[in-house]
Amino acid sequence: GAGVSQSPRYKVAKRGQDVALRCDPISGHVSLFWYQQALGQGPEFLTYFQNEAQLDKSGLPSDRFFAERPEGSVSTLKIQRTQQEDSAVYLCASSLPSSGGGGNTIYFGEGSWLTVV
């Protein structure tokens, strides 16, 4: 597609409910990232995929958070037993790999706004 697409755009979940957030990266992009943006804060890294391999999950805040990208394209971020502190915007981003490391541009989706009540 033309850009990174995320769904749902808005999700209200009751505390304790499981949620799944979907990300369609830009076609052909190998790298995929998930970020969490709390109200009034900058985005914070959650996890990184290169194709289907999850190479870094150091930012996942607890074992209730799980991400997958089974075929190296679409990715799903799952949050189990949601808590109020999980309320945030979840941003997905994708990029082409670059031999120069940090020089490649990362393209962000519009985010999935999660509110836990």
Binding site: P43, S95, P97, T105, I106
Partner: protein, 114 residues
């Protein structure tokens, strides 16, 4: 590890006035620097980036930023702002090794009024 400090959480300015949004970073290795803009209810859009070469980089809509290694800064400037520039601006840094995980500042809300 690297970090980013955006000193101002909010910057109010009148239309057609100049503006500077401040960004300082810390890192023990060489960095790449970015400014992203987030309009209300939208995702992040890349505004400009510094990778190497000229320390002054420009965007297509009149913003510019200058990389200052000695002061570890990457301030964003525009000589004359428009109402449509009202948005949240995030400074971000990444290192040159491996995959490019961005570290963001907390953001500066630019409020342009008539």
């Amino acid at each position: 590890a690297q970090s980013v400090t955006q000193l101002d959480s909010q910057v109010p300015v009148f239309e057609e006035a100049p503006v500077e949004l401040r960004c300082n970073y810390s890192s023990s290795v060489s960095v790449y620097l970015f400014w992203y803009v987030q309009y209300p209810n939208q995702g992040l859009q890349l505004l400009l980036k510094y990778l190497s070469g000229s320390t002054l980089v420009e965007s297509i809509n009149g913003f510019e930023a200058e990389f200052n290694k000695s002061q570890t800064s990457f301030h964003l400037r525009k000589p004359s702002v428009h109402i449509s520039d009202t948005a949240e601006y995030f400074c971000a840094v990444t290192t040159g090794s491996g995959y490019s995980t961005l570290t963001f500042g907390k953001g500066t809300m630019l409020l342009v009024s008539p």
